[in-house]
Assembly symmetry: C2
Homo-oligomer: 198 residues x 2
Amino acid sequence: MIAIELLEKYGAIQKNFTKTAVIFKEGKLPAYYFQILSGEVKMNNYNDDGREFIQGIFYKNQSFGEPPLFLNQNYPASAVVVEDAEILCVPKESFMKLLNENPAISIKIIENLAQRLYYKSVMAAEISTHEPEHRVLRLIDYAIANFNFKKDSNGYLINFTRQQIGDLSGLRVETVIRAIKSLEKKGELKIINRKVYR
Amino acid sequence: MIAIELLEKYGAIQKNFTKTAVIFKEGKLPAYYFQILSGEVKMNNYNDDGREFIQGIFYKNQSFGEPPLFLNQNYPASAVVVEDAEILCVPKESFMKLLNENPAISIKIIENLAQRLYYKSVMAAEISTHEPEHRVLRLIDYAIANFNFKKDSNGYLINFTRQQIGDLSGLRVETVIRAIKSLEKKGELKIINRKVYR
DNA sequence: TTTGCTTTATGATTTGAGTCATAAATGTGA
DNA sequence: TCACATTTATGACTCAAATCATAAAGCAAA
């Protein structure tokens, strides 16, 4: 997260998007640095038969879509608004200027990218070698550690739908539902009127 | 890749490792920045029943294992020598000093991490939503674009064993062998005395 | 409050990658 | 050159997750 004043100094403009709006499309060239002021954004892919994979979900104060920006490559995934969002957009050229003139920001960016790589590494190993229950549990634990899920007397409320968990972990909804039920039986998590707690 | 002279200025020492040596273990805290002078290194995980997943393979002039270094987190995977390797190691503290005193290097690091995130994004989507042939082909194409595989009249020689392709794409050897055979039939690649060309 | 959409849920069936067994070709080191 | 490990290869069988079908609960908006 970069200070809003700094972004504004480099020509950031605010854009507002409503639910389901597409911020950018897979395959397009990046033109902006994006930082979320409010709302929720996901990055996703679709395979040939329309099956979705969610690369990540991003919230207030988080940025997204930087890697292709730094590499001058096409976006490997699309960005879609999940909850109405206000987003600061800094044009590529001025963002690069910002970086060059503010070395401390580079370190922030490095930490941010490192964090996301870490997540991808863990999930890659999960997805390719572990069974569904393990995958679901790991995803939930990662989400607790990284998103600000609310904690109450039942534990952390996992603010994902079963479908989202599936799309993040490469499983089908039904499989996620069954995995969650089974994990509940094993005492790994709780289901209280359809909401998942851990 | 950071200039060797610069690394030496910040106290880099060279260590030599032989095939199968473990440079660091999953779960340990990072203490060094590593850059390869010669040889080949893989980063990998094992799941509970001993199945391997290869996070990435690294060659001359490449660095590896930085994300946890920047985050003060445990390594999410181990680093194992694939071909005898000479490696420059810079102690964490002096590497951080190097970064602070050389802002241009930060940009390099950012580009490097961005590149790896890009790969992980593509492979994550592949692994979780595509069939084996697609996964194998994408991995091969990525490898051609990023490693210096040799090109001759038959095309690029894919310098991976079937097992390595499997461990990188989350498939079993037999499945990879069958996928490659089928891709050959479809004309997507060639097999010339057991070697894969594309 | 009615209508329609999303989310959770469950059972039956299918299927494709994993598993197992086996072997030949190749490479490596003693 | 011999012994052993690695890599590629193929066929038969298994099984777990995907698929398909269906439905009820919840929610959102008209």
